[in-house]
């Protein structure tokens, strides 16, 4: 245990004022640990890593860690990350977003980042709520759940972030939970290592807002819920639809090799260079002088 703590300390910013902004019992702390362990395992230098985040509790994560960090506008983290990556493809860009940030206001950018298959890693912390602003409903809040903007029960249905990512064309899609921390370390590491757009949906808990409004108990009860509701992908394949109701799969949901944007763009550079040469070698039309 002491070894793990020492590792965390190596990556925390020591000039950043603590305590952090998260509530006691928040799942973000576990994710932060997983992220540090995963990055450490990849062997990348701190200078090579850029952590980009959106707005929300998950968005506050990068300030605490000793990398190049960028805390952007709500829903737009993937666009800033795209700019960083394209301007310097040698950087490893990891994007941290919440469920509302990534799939509501940021939904469009999420779909297109997956479609382009840029070499980015998107980690989406899904606690089914807008926690920072007090617990409003989000695109992943279940039907019937309560929120400050759904006092009588949510009448919208949630969609699945992971399935959305698969359809949009992401190279690697994984789902984990903050309960299954060891697995989470692995999933995040795999997503970082994967060439192409890697998505890790991290099921987390917000006891302060969502949990309280929906009678889910405290952090311990909510973690237990994650344990009971999660089914490993391999096991789920053998289960009936009946048995899978109310549960969600964890593990690698998709892993394929698709053309990577930066490599495709090389073709554009070559063709553009050829066009420029052609234009410069063409005989010029001379304008009448003395006008």
């Amino acid at each position: 245990m002491a070894q793990v703590t020492a590792l965390i300390h190596e990556y925390l910013r020591h000039d950043k004022k603590f305590p952090h902004v998260w509530c006691p019992g928040c799942g973000n702390g576990i994710l932060l640990g997983s992220l540090i362990r995963a990055i450490d395992r990849t062997g990348y230098e701190k200078d090579e890593i850029v952590l980009v985040s959106g707005i929300g509790c998950a968005g506050r994560l990068p300030a605490y860690v000793d990398f190049n960090t960028l805390h952007t506008t709500h829903g737009r983290a993937l666009t800033f990350a795209t700019g960083v990556k394209l301007a310097n493809p040698r950087l490893q860009v990891i994007v941290i977003m919440g469920d509302g940030d990534a799939t509501a206001i940021g939904g469009n950018h999420f779909i297109h980042a997956a479609r382009r298959n840029l070499d980015l890693t998107a980690i989406i912390v899904n606690n089914s709520t807008y926690g920072m602003t007090g617990g409003q409903y989000s695109p992943t809040t279940p039907y019937g759940a309560r929120a400050t903007t759904a006092l009588f029960g949510n009448v919208e249905h949630a969609f699945s972030i992971a399935e959305l990512a698969v359809t949009a064309g992401a190279s690697l899609v994984a789902r984990g939970t903050v309960y299954h921390a060891t697995q989470l370390d692995d999933l995040v590491e795999r997503a970082i290592r994967k060439r192409g757009f890697g998505v890790v949906e991290v099921i987390s808990h917000c006891p302060t807002q969502y949990g309280k409004k929906n009678g889910m108990g405290g952090p311990v009860e909510m973690l237990r819920w994650q344990k009971d509701a999660a089914v490993r992908v391999e096991k789920a394949a053998e289960m009936s639809e009946e048995d899978l109701r109310g549960k969600f799969t964890i593990g690698i949901l998709a892993d394929r090799d698709l053309p990577i944007y930066v490599r495709e763009y090389r073709k554009v550079r070559e063709a553009a260079r050829a066009r420029l040469e052609e234009k410069e070698n063409k005989p010029k039309i001379r304008l009448a002088s003395g006008s």
């Binding site: 506008t73 737009r76 800033f80 550079r269 553009a272 001379r286």
Partner: protein, 391 residues
């Protein structure tokens, strides 16, 4: 550190010989950007700015730069800011509706102090408006479109040559002051094709942001200095720091302490305010002994120039102040004339946006009249001439 040298555009041979080249305003923006060292462009198609994206889409990668068409204008500016933080000189171009979408990220660039250039080719508005018609109605939006107290630099092109030179200037200001710079054009300036003699590359000044070169442990990313502009490390250079849109302390970390927030606000305003002399770009014609002064910008300034010359030929002592920088409003350059002339005419293609500023700094010193046209058509030289003689 030495600034970079101006980069060769595509126009090369033809202009180096001093010959004129037939060029469109939008095309000149691209050439100017390339000369200034722009290596990154992200955009979204919109009339009448689309040509900038189209030209960039091959001219940039032809030189090792990067172009990407994003899913919307919000994404475009996000990408530009990210690229700039990774060290690139980055730019986007749009028109009214897209410019409205960009406002939030524009504020981010102001607070995080990220150099970038945003071209807004003004068209008829509001909303979808008159996509293929001219207007100058985004002037106030360029100053105040994004929420909160923020400083901003806004330039305005009037000719194809302006499109080239002011784009270079826009990049230089953005690098020097670590701020987004907006280059306003209008649909006429963007789409006019005319003969232009571009300045030789050797005469162009290109400014780069000042990067830190001390040991990384000593680097304080938002530390004040005499210029008020902090040194800017690029991601990956070894200076790891935190960038956020939250108001932050000198280390880049969010703060709510009033002593720290006050210091931040004061510095980002001071860095622009103490350099007004350098930022104001105003051209004068027949202004020194004028009785009637025309203050104009953009394509209207061309009509105004013709009108002023014709008026002089008729014996009317008219003069012109052409504003090539709109914000910060060049008060110190306009005020002296207001005290000496009988009347001022501000022709513009909106319901009176720069005229408000003129009236504000005028404080009743002389008569200020407006000539407003909002039907999507240009104000003609004759319209201005007739008004001048009536005045």
């Amino acid at each position: 550190m030495k600034d970079s040298k101006p980069q060769e555009g595509t126009v090369g041979q033809r202009t180096r010989n001093g010959q004129g080249v037939l060029m469109q305003g939008n095309e000149a923006v691209v050439e100017g950007a390339l000369a200034a060292g722009c290596t990154f462009f992200a955009g979204y198609p919109i009339t009448p700015a689309t040509e900038i994206s189209e030209d960039m889409s091959w001219k940039l990668p032809a030189r090792g730069g990067t172009f990407i068409q994003m899913e919307d204008e919000i994404a475009s500016l996000g990408v530009v800011i990210g690229a700039s933080l990774a060290g690139a000189k980055a730019m986007t171009a749009t028109s009214g509706p897209g410019f409205s979408l960009m406002q939030e990220n524009l504020g981010f660039a102001c607070v995080a102090e990220v150099p970038c250039v945003i071209v807004n080719v003004m068209r008829g508005g509001p909303s979808t408006g008159l996509p293929t018609s001219v207007s100058q109605a985004d002037v106030m939006q360029a100053r105040w479109g994004t929420h909160g107290d923020h400083p901003i630099i806004v330039l305005c092109a009037s000719t194809t040559l302006d499109c080239y030179c002011l784009t270079v200037k826009a990049f230089n200001f953005s690098e020097k002051f670590r701020t987004p710079v907006i280059l306003l054009m209008d649909e006429v300036v963007a789409h006019t094709r005319e003969k232009v003699r571009l300045p030789p590359l050797e005469e162009l000044e290109v400014v780069d942001r000042i990067r830190p070169n001390m040991p990384p442990e000593w680097y304080i990313p938002y530390e004040d200095n005499t210029r008020g502009v902090p040194l800017m490390g690029a991601f990956g250079d070894g200076y790891r720091y935190h960038v956020t849109g939250l108001v932050h302390d000198t280390h880049g970390f969010p703060t709510q302490r009033s002593d720290e927030t006050q210091v931040f606000q004061n510095r980002i305003h001071r860095k622009i305010e103490q350099s007004f002399e350098e930022i104001h770009v105003v051209r004068k014609e027949h202004a020194e002994d004028a009785e009637m002064l025309v203050i104009a910008y953009g394509s209207v300034a061309r009509s105004a120039r013709r009108a002023v010359r014709d008026a002089r030929a008729q014996g009317v002592r008219a003069g012109l102040l052409q504003l090539s920088s709109l914000w910060p409003f060049p008060r110190s350059m306009v005020e002296p004339y207001l005290r000496n002339v009988k009347a001022v005419l501000v022709p513009e293609l909106n319901r009176g946006q720069i005229s408000r500023e003129v009236k504000r700094v005028n404080k009743g010193a002389c008569r200020v009249e407006t000539l407003r046209r909002i039907d999507g058509n240009l104000i003609t030289p004759n319209e201005i001439l007739v008004r001048l003689t009536k005045m």
